[in-house]
């Protein structure tokens, strides 16, 4: 098997140039690549276009990259929960493209599957349809949507092996496997890096072929956005 291990997050992201298109895994703060985000903050890389379902919160996740003005554009389905985001958006410092969540997921999946375009019903008759080809199939209207790909995809998994095979945990899976498949360079940070042969081949979520760099992260905070308990 091919060894894809790099030392740490700083090494993994060091060649990301200004104005790159990044995909960052996670839903809310669940399953986000905390170590790589911290390394991106340290690197000072600028002008980033970030494709991520959400934009973090003021002081965590992608929110931190917004604070340092490293992000030029966000492509997301939902960007609430972030005051700095709102300020930059209203002041025109930040561009935002909002995409229905299922369309976002499918466009990324298409990017990783070599499918340049597909038809989906989401957004028909809404402003999302503006400028898009609409077509009827079997009596229902659909919009044509195109693939999304990234210069660098940055994902977080639970376990990974040295050849890049990944296993996610719980709902921290979300967009991570899709994004892993759609990056020109895919960087995976994992909670536990194991030797080749330790993961069950039958239970791998992201085959190693999609992953170019992998490292074991540290100090995961895994912040909870809405701590909700039973009464």
């Amino acid at each position: 098997m091919i060894n894809k291990v790099v030392k740490n997050a700083d090494e993994a992201i060091k060649d990301i140039p200004d104005n790159s298109v990044l995909m960052l895994g996670g839903f809310g703060l669940c399953g986000i690549p905390e170590n790589c985000i911290a390394a991106i903050l340290r690197s000072g890389v600028k002008g980033l276009t970030c494709i991520s379902n959400n934009a973090g919160v003021d002081d965590f996740g992608i929110g931190l990259m917004l604070k340092t003005r490293q992000v030029k554009k966000m492509i997301s389905s939902y960007v609430g929960e972030n005051g700095e985001f709102e300020r930059q958006l209203l002041s025109g410092e930040l561009e935002v493209e909002l995409i229905p969540q299922g369309t976002l997921a499918e466009r990324i999946r298409a990017g990783g599957a070599g499918i340049p375009a597909f038809f989906t019903p989401a957004g028909v008759g809404t402003e999302v349809a503006n400028g898009k080809e609409a077509r009827e199939f079997d009596g229902k209207m659909y919009l044509m949507e195109t693939w999304l790909r990234a210069d660098f995809s940055i994902v977080k998994a639970w376990k990974g092996d040295t050849s890049g095979n990944l296993v996610y945990r719980g709902t921290a899976r979300n967009f991570n496997p899709l994004m892993a498949s759609a990056g020109t360079i895919t960087i995976a940070e994992v909670e536990e890096l194991v030797p080749v042969g330790e993961l069950d081949p039958n239970a791998i979520h992201t085959p190693g072929i999609y992953v170019h760099r992998i490292f074991q992260g540290s100090n995961y905070e895994k912040r909870i956005e809405q701590r909700t308990v039973r009464k």
Partner: protein, 219 residues
């Protein structure tokens, strides 16, 4: 008139044994609390889970397990986890039997607006556009009128749309209504203590009243 819990309880009566259900944020999430215990239903969370369980105890909180509202949750025995593309695959292909979500406005043709108010900060549509464009059966939980008393059941939506001709039924604080295929809100039930005239006055869109309208039974 129903409060939020009343609306949730009334919607819970729409749930049938064996259904797969997606619950939106807000009142729809409350519906889960009132589904009869003897019913086998499975709750889908569009961030990648079939089989949402109750909220966790303080000790069992797991940051890797949240619902689409980002709340910590648990899993039922027999749950399945999957990625976001698979999640919307099952939504788009009609495998989710019932979608319950909130709305700012619904038109008499079943158009729904629930994601954007011009002039206010736009947070995004999340999964709502995919859900309303795909679901076989959509029930909306909403207030019949705005705080200022303006009807939200309209001839035509004034806010940017989330989806076209998709809402099948509405449970508001005042009434249960069906949206007819050719247009119009057919009044099915009145909320406790609410008269037909009050509902008429609160409904801007075409209201269809056919015979005696029973008062709903909420237990």
């Amino acid at each position: 008139m129903l409060d939020k819990i009343g609306i949730a309880k009334r919607i819970a009566q729409e749930v049938k044994d064996g259904m797969y259900i997606n619950l939106g944020i807000g009142i729809p999430t409350l519906v889960a609390n009132y589904i009869p215990k003897n019913m086998n239903v499975v709750l889908q969370s569009e961030n990648g889970l079939l089989g949402i369980g109750p909220f966790p105890t303080e000790e069992s909180i797991d940051p890797d397990l949240i619902n689409a509202g980002k709340q910590t949750i648990t899993m039922m025995p027999g749950s399945a986890l999957f990625n976001s593309a698979e999640s919307f695959a099952m939504i788009r292909s009609g495998k989710v039997d019932l979608t319950i979500l909130g709305a700012m406005e619904v038109s008499e043709l079943g158009d729904i607006a629930n994601w954007k108010v011009p002039g206010k900060m736009v947070k995004g549509m999340g999964g709502a556009m995919d859900l309303v464009a795909s679901a076989k059966n959509i029930i909306v939980a909403m207030q019949h009128c705005s705080k200022e008393g303006a009807s939200k059941l309209l001839r035509k939506c004034t806010l940017p749309l989330t989806g076209l001709r998709c809402v099948k039924r509405i449970v508001s604080d005042l009434a249960v209504l069906d949206v007819l295929p050719l247009g119009g809100f057919r009044l099915l039930e009145r909320a406790p203590g609410v008269t037909v005239d009050e509902i008429k006055n609160a409904t801007e869109g075409k209201l269809i009243i056919d015979g005696e309208i029973p008062e709903m039974v909420i237990i």
